[in-house]
Point group: C2
Chain length 192, copies 2
């Protein structure tokens, strides 16, 4: 029987995912179409343009990752535990799927800021999530709004950049990176 349009779309995303897994940021529309066993125009009918497919793909992984991060942000045991868990969640995710990670970050960097807020790069969304986490953090109640935002964006970038660096220095254990970053941040949080 004929698959519904949504099933179709899901299947295409599946294929795109496999290509990204293999090729990282070099995943092209041609490759993806080939992997899905169809031709380009179909892809374009479904996703509009490469940006559209990127967004659909990013939404998937970003959502999944944000889910993990949200969970980490809710870790019980105090701010220190939450901080470590969150940093660790991020690093664990990029360790599991470095190619996907590279794809997300790179596309986010390259994608022009279409309608600001629509694409909203990967790191930026991470930052937004962190900002929410910070604002609802019990031990940080009453934190200045701007401070929360700036910190969140900064921390997102810090974790991301360190992650990048770490991908090239696998000799450093994940736990070490987590510990160093968390230590730096936790002391800062003490300012309130």
């Amino acid at each position: 029987m004929a698959p519904s349009v949504l099933e179709r779309r899901a299947g295409l995303l599946e294929a795109a995912d496999r290509v990204v897994q293999r090729e990282g940021p070099a995943a092209s529309m041609n490759l993806i179409a080939a992997e899905a066993g169809i031709t380009k125009p179909i892809l374009y009918r479904h996703f509009g343009d490469k940006g559209g497919l990127y967004r659909a793909l990013a939404a998937r992984h970003t959502e999944a990752l944000l889910e993990r991060l949200r969970a980490a942000l809710l870790t019980r045991g105090g701010l220190a535990a939450r901080t470590r868990a969150t940093v660790d969640a991020y690093l664990a995710a990029i360790e599991e799927r470095p190619q996907v990670y590279r794809f997300l970050v790179q596309r986010a960097a390259v994608e022009e800021p279409d309608v600001r807020g629509d694409v909203e790069g990967f790191v930026r969304r991470f930052g937004d999530e962190l900002a929410a986490g910070i604002r609802s953090e019990p031990s940080l109640q009453g934190i200045d709004e701007t401070r929360a935002t700036v910190w969140a964006q900064g921390i997102a970038g810090m974790v991301q950049a360190t992650g990048d660096w770490w991908l090239d220095h696998p000799e450093v254990p994940r736990a070490t990176v987590v510990e160093e970053l968390s230590a730096l941040l936790l002391a800062g949080f003490d300012l309130r």
Copy 2:
């Protein structure tokens, strides 16, 4: 009289610079050649490939920026003053030339890791510089080697990401961003 090959090269870089100023990351070899009043093959004779031109261009700005950062890292008046000065130097630089900044960051993100250490992305170099700064920081003597490196890469990313965000939020004064980031970092440094 005929300009020497180095003068020529400098002139080409000058032209490339103007294009980047105008076009940001969209600067293409065609555009640059046109701006210089010549054709592509000449560019390629001088720089090998786009990566080569990118490196030459990046070297310019990176060197200039690193120079400012080094100066900031030597600010007298203690760690707090140095931290603020360094963060401020970075933000001031991207404020002055946002297009150039975008170009540098984006190219660094996209450029594949040729011979690791040759290209070495923009943020990475910033990180290296910071690492040196941290290691030679009087009040941080004896800091663990790995910690210094991780912190440096992380801080570089933090400042960069915040800078990105700030470019889209000009309503926040630079001084505020500097203050918030510095506060967060300085508390962390207290750990030693």
